[in-house]
């Protein structure tokens, strides 16, 4: 009972935030609403007892969004009066609705078709230790590959940044 009330509140927050992201014309407002959406998702993780995942969601998504805001600003700052039309993708409304419906249909189709396995084991009180052990044993290759990928991206970013500086 209590859990479903909390779930519906969080779902409303998440969906409301997401709707605001696509409907607002000002991109800074969109990004701020995106933070609300991320926090709502983190709350849903919490109701599923995935406390570590919820904290990661807040740290990586909601926290790092501020960098996204800076990029948004650097790219679209158009001076006074034009800020109201800096979220250009909100123009493609009908296309967006169609794409979203398609994606939603695909997701719900696969969700219904999948047979979900349940184990008798109760959810652990804390997931962080188990996640750590799994990441460095069972999934160590994927984990290290992701790390290498991030490193490559970082080095590339530094090189690109330096080059621009040299030409200027």
């Amino acid at each position: 009972m209590m859990q479903s009330i909390v779930f519906f509140l969080l779902a409303a927050l998440t969906l409301g935030g997401a709707l605001a992201v696509i409907n607002l014309k000002n991109i800074v407002h969109s990004v701020l609403c995106l933070i609300v959406t991320f926090l709502g998702v983190a709350g849903i993780f919490l109701t599923l007892r995935a406390d570590f995942l919820a904290a990661v969601q807040v740290l990586v998504y909601a926290g790092a969004v501020s960098i996204l805001v800076i990029f948004a600003l650097l790219l679209v700052n158009q001076g006074d009066g034009k800020m109201a039309e800096t979220n250009p993708y909100s123009r493609f409304g009908y296309l967006g609705v169609a794409a979203a419906m398609l994606f939603f249909g695909f997701l719900s189709f696969s969700l219904i078709k999948t047979t979900w396995q349940t184990t008798g084991i109760a959810a652990a009180a804390t997931s962080v230790g188990e996640i750590g052990v799994r990441l460095l044993s069972q999934y160590v290759i994927a984990f290290e590959l992701a790390a290498v990928l991030l490193l490559v991206a970082m080095v590339a970013a530094i090189i690109i940044g330096r080059e621009v500086k040299d030409h200027a």
């Binding site: 933070i35 904290a55 807040v58 501020s66 960098i67």
Partner: protein, 354 residues
């Protein structure tokens, strides 16, 4: 007899919480409503701690600043000027709240309120004394890191919403600074997590009953203090404000109580940083004779005074120096600290050498 009295004072807040819980039961609430009610009580207690600390530390900073600069500091209102902050707060509350015409109104106004969310959320897991944490999460320390990552957003909102060049530049500086210094800060806390093997705040405190982690992780402690100053935008890292370059940075367009709210939040943030430092490095509430919460407040007071001392001693750092110092000095050192800690722990745990 004496030990009984001390134990009573050690647990006094637990007794008060128990009394309130009994009061809810006496009113005939069921378990769920009682839990929600207790949550509200904890929330109000955290707000009270925040505001009282800010009130005290504002006047204490002004006093200490006066002492450092060889002047009396505020000394008119009340005994030795100790009521100055209260008078200031009343003055600021009655001032007109000016909002610029072209400001992004909603963003501008909400920034001053949302700036309180991260410190409030952080204080919820801080153990103020024996069993005295509103929440004892199993991922306590990680929760703190995650929540403090949110503190960049109100800063940015303030800078953007004001529709002022100085504000925006202050916000850009603030965000890049806070993101850069978060990394060595997390690494410095990681050394302690490696030693204790837990993220739970109370367990970290309990692990320090023989030796404080400041002695096992001195480098991490120093890095933590530096990054703590940078995270809270305090001098010598107060670039987002930077009054000699940016008027008042992100605070330029705020007036009256909203301006004061930012400073209140700054002191709350500083209190949070001091609390985490106390819990993780200085043994938390543990100490002989005196009640745990007195020890906790005493240790945070010492750390806080150190932060004030830093502010009034060091000149402001330059932007390029700030980034170089963070990325080329603090990050490598904190990484090396983690590496050395891991190696020592591995050797120690496997019984080699020793």
């Amino acid at each position: 007899m004496l030990s009984n009295i001390l134990e009573f004072f050690d647990n006094i807040f637990l007794y008060i919480a128990g009394l309130i819980r009994h009061f809810f039961a006496w009113l005939g609430f069921n378990a769920t409503v009682t839990e929600i009610g207790m949550g509200l009580v904890y929330f109000i207690a955290i707000i009270a701690v925040c505001v009282l600390c800010a009130l005290f530390y504002v006047i204490w900073e002004r006093k200490l600043a006066g002492y450092i600069q060889r002047r009396p500091g505020p000394n008119r209102l009340g005994p030795n000027g100790w009521f100055q902050t209260i008078a200031d707060a009343i003055k600021l509350l009655t001032k007109e709240d000016v909002v610029p015409l072209n400001a992004d109104r909603v963003v501008h106004l909400w920034a001053a309120l949302l700036i309180f969310v991260p410190p409030m959320l952080s204080l919820a897991v801080i153990p103020f004394g024996r069993q005295m944490a509103a929440l004892d999460l199993s991922i306590g320390l990680f929760y703190l890191i995650a929540v403090s990552a949110l503190s960049t957003i109100p800063i940015f909102m303030a800078g953007w919403g004001s529709n002022n060049k100085y504000s925006l530049m202050g916000a850009m500086r603030g965000v890049s600074q806070m993101i850069s210094y978060e990394i060595p800060m997390v690494f410095s806390l990681l050394g302690v997590v490696l030693i204790t093997g837990t993220l739970e705040m109370q367990s970290i405190v309990a692990a320090q009953n023989h030796i404080w982690f400041v002695f096992l992780q001195p480098v991490a402690f120093i890095i933590y203090l530096i990054c703590g100053l940078a995270e809270t935008n305090r001098a010598p890292f107060d670039l987002p404000e930077g009054e000699s370059e940016l008027t008042a940075g992100i605070y330029t367009e705020y007036s009256g109580m909203r301006y004061a709210l930012f400073f209140l939040a700054e002191y709350c943030n500083l209190f949070v940083i001091a609390s985490i430092g106390t819990t993780v490095f200085l043994g938390g509430w543990q100490g002989p004779f005196l009640p745990g919460w007195v020890w906790f407040l005493g240790k945070t007071f010492v750390l806080f005074s150190f932060f004030i001392f830093c502010r009034w001693t060091f000149p402001r750092i330059r932007v390029d120096q700030l980034m170089n110092f963070g990325w080329k000095f603090l990050v490598p050192i904190s990484l090396a600290n983690i590496l050395i800690t891991s190696i020592v722990l591995f050797v120690f745990n496997n019984g080699l050498g020793w």
